[in-house]
């Protein structure tokens, strides 16, 4: 099987606005795909790189999104402040929850990340000052050095694309680094990693924080793409969808997570145009995909 290159998909996204995909609908759809791809990418890094299967990853996305909302409510809309704040808030959330979650493993880790995700969900729902259950609508998109650049759909499209490509290259480099090697060793055979003198905890926690930071970046983009943040973006269903995108793309492959997210968004969109009962088709379709594509859409290759 030919090795699938994420560069192709990224190039397609770069060319899309010039190939007629330049309506409001197309831009919205592509932004959604890129935001989810960025979030799935960070989860793919955790699952494939560190063997940490989280079912609360949407909370990281949510923390990033709510950072944008809360700053917006207080009149802070400068990207140079908002973006680092969103990333740092999500990384900090990951660090604090991870410090506890990573002491567990297997099913317990899944359950505890789910629990932290739900805690974030209920916290967001109770933030009356920021919309509570109904969510919060931004006054405006984040400004860059005082310019309302992100209001420009084309600029926003390329910002999403650049951040997605940059995050992929960054996470890929991290997995190939000294740190990444230790991380992959703890995933493949923790006993052997320990026999080499590495205590897995610190490496896993660092990976968890890195994944949180990238998901926070996705949250920043999500808030700006929809100019809206709501608790539903943190709900466990969204965490499940992200995990599904990773598995659909192929665990152990960073580009797979991007491909999985893109396929997920396109399939969801196409089915929704066919029938309002699209979820009845979508579910079985996902099951078939897992059965017949055991290595995911990206195939056997590991990124």
């Amino acid at each position: 099987m030919m090795r699938w290159s994420p560069a192709l998909l990224l190039a397609l996204l770069a060319a899309a606005p010039w190939l007629g995909f330049s309506g409001s609908y197309e831009f919205t759809l592509m932004a959604r795909a890129m935001v989810l791809a960025l979030a799935a990418l960070s989860l793919g890094f955790l699952v494939g790189g560190a063997g940490l299967v989280s079912l609360g990853h949407a909370a990281m996305l949510g923390v990033g999104g709510y950072a944008v909302a809360i700053l917006d409510a207080h009149g802070v809309t400068e990207a140079l402040l908002v973006l680092p704040a969103a990333v740092a808030a999500a990384a900090l959330f990951a660090l604090l929850t991870g410090a506890i979650a990573i002491r567990t493993s297997g099913v317990h880790f899944i359950m505890i990340t789910l629990a932290f995700g739900q805690m974030a969900f209920f916290t967001a729902s109770s933030l009356a000052a920021y919309g509570g259950d109904d969510g919060y609508t931004l006054y405006a998109r984040t400004e860059i050095a005082g310019h309302r650049l992100l209001e420009n759909r084309l600029a926003f499209h390329y910002l999403c694309l650049a951040l997605l490509a940059g995050a992929w290259l960054l996470l890929r480099a991290i997995l190939a680094s000294r740190f990444g090697r230790v991380l992959r060793a703890t995933r493949e055979n923790a006993q052997r990693a320990e026999a080499m003198g590495f205590a897995p905890y610190a490496y896993r926690l660092a990976a968890y924080a890195i994944a949180g930071a990238v998901a926070g970046l996705a949250g920043f983009l999500m808030a700006n793409a929809t100019e809206f943040v709501a608790p539903s973006a943190i709900a466990w269903q969204r965490s499940g969808e992200l995990l599904f995108m990773v598995i659909l793309g192929g665990v152990g492959s960073l580009p797979g997570a991007i491909l999985g997210a893109a396929a997920f968004v396109v399939a969801e969109e196409q089915l929704a145009t066919l029938t309002e009962h699209w979820r009845l088709i979508f579910g079985p379709l996902l099951i078939l995909a897992v059965i017949f594509l055991p290595h995911g859409l990206a195939g056997r290759h590991r990124g």
């Binding site: 480099a173 190939a176 680094s177 000294r178 740190f179 230790v182 992959r184 060793a185 080499m196």
Partner: protein, 259 residues
Amino acid sequence: MAWRGAIVAEPLLILDGLRKHYGGLAVTDGVSLDLRMGEIHAIIGPNGAGKTTLIHQVSGTVAPDAGRVIFGGRDITRLSFPARVRAGLARSFQITSILSGFSALENAALAAQRRHGSSFRFFRAAARDATLNTAGMAALEAVGLAERATMQAGALSHGEKRQLELALALATEPRALLLDEPLAGAGQEETARLIAILRALRDRYAILLVEHDMDAVFALADRVTVLEQGRVLATGTPAAIRADAAVRAAYLGEEEIPC
């Protein structure tokens, strides 16, 4: 010069009254022994005698119920497994434990990484790190696995995996090696090669060797401790152990001790 001899003879590793119970079963029942630099100290005993459990307690993968482990004059009983490795106490496993998805060189380079700078480096590709590759290659060469460097570890032959496991222990730059049946499952030719490798290592390390292959034990060991039902039955030179009546009784019908 007697005073110099006394210093050299100071044991590097001391097990002092180790005990471990699993339920009502005393798997380690007051084991004391020591290991000196430049020595191969073999531990033999029938299946289930508690050899692996003893290695677990020395390496820090299992906590003893009582007793102490002294390494280099320091009580390390409460140190974690990886911390003991960093202190210079490396081990191999009875059931091969390697990183199958990594190449042989990547395995060895990673084992050397703890001794060569920080592991919290995030950007430079480890595969192009000359320091790590040099150290990893040296460990592979020490066990005669250099020509397999680029091969995926999972694809190596069984004997080669045992060699790699040994290389991984060496790459951590230990002072003492705890080897749990390094010859297990190796063929005749591979066994001969591994024995030659272990013999070459003796001078530079202190080696605690658990082994079922009696030919290997008597060819390699400076001292032998016989373990039975968690207890030390006898400790002595290979010749003394061979002659020991109690040992012969314990092994009768189990395995022939070559004379």
